[in-house]
Amino acid sequence: MPNHIEHRLNIQSDMDLCCLIDSDERLAATDLVTMLGDLLERGAYLTLLFNIPCLTILLETKFHVKPLPHARIPIVKLSLDPSPGLPLGIACDIGFENRLALENTRLLMCYAMIDPTRVRTMVLFRKSGILQSHSILKYPRVDQSRCGVNAGQ
């Protein structure tokens, strides 16, 4: 894999996704990650068949897929190269049955809804500072939104 793709897959993702499966008989997360990785690698060009107007330009480029089935929380890392429709590209992580993360997100959203202007301003300000120090000092990355909320308290 070229270096720039490897780098792209290793950086902080732009978007975190979690797949919930409602049926009782579901595969283990490790198997699902492997299967999804295969599907995305093989079927990257097939996505053009899904007629989503905004993405027809976007998907002229190929997905870069990196399944991590044996991680503590198995995920598929996915990235799209920059294209005219998406100048900066996009990177996302897809996990499975990570209900704790969804609940944490819901809690943070509730905090933000209490007083949207002040809470969001405070958290985003703290978060931008934390991001800046991480970038400069190469600290290990943590959950920045939670960090921002804690720092603002």
């Binding site: 919930l20 499966i21 905004c54 819901r106 959203m109 405070m122 991001l131």
Partner: protein
């Protein structure tokens, strides 16, 4: 009556025949205290200021407090007179407590506005959010080819409203 309160340059800030200190704060002399201690009070009842007391330590504290108060008043006065739109044109009739309250409120309002203006530039654009939502929908459709009963939900900063704009500068810094 002797008033041993001096400003930072050594001059008296008040003579006993004056009705105000530095022309701004009204002086009220209590008639109920013994003449040996000769204290007086400045301004409204929230800001008692003993100008002279029996205890030397208390006198020192009062002295320091007075000098700080005067210096604060001078600063506020300069700010007020420099602002043409300020509502505090009749400065002498507003107590230091009210001035501080107004000053604090103005400071907080300014700070909030500055923070808001700073943060508003960092918010992701509507297009960026739309593209992310489209990618999520696309991936959901793909995953449903292997698990028909699945749902793909977004979590983390994208979903809770704390996401920052994805700037090229950020990626450069990461590199």
């Amino acid at each position: 009556m002797c008033v041993p309160v001096r400003d930072r340059f050594g001059g008296y800030i008040w003579e006993h025949n004056e009705e105000s200190i530095l022309g701004r704060t009204t002086v009220i002399i209590s008639s109920f205290v013994p003449s040996a201690t000769s204290p007086c009070q400045i301004s409204d009842r929230r800001f008692y200021l003993p100008l002279r007391t029996a205890s030397r330590a208390e006198e020192t504290i009062g002295h320091k407090f007075t000098v700080e108060l005067v210096s604060h008043m001078a600063t506020t006065h300069v700010q007020t007179t420099s602002s043409a739109q300020s509502p505090h044109q009749h400065f002498g009739h507003i107590s230091p407590a009210t001035q501080r309250k107004h000053s604090k409120q103005e400071f907080v309002a300014d700070l909030s506005q500055c923070l808001f203006d700073f943060v508003i530039q960092l918010l992701p654009t509507a297009e960026e959010m739309a593209v992310k939502e489209d990618v999520r929908k696309l991936l959901e459709r793909l995953i449903r080819t292997i698990e028909p009963d699945s749902r793909l939900l977004s979590f983390g900063s994208t979903a809770n409203g704390f996401s920052l704009r994805n700037s090229g500068e950020q990626n450069l810094l990461d590199a």
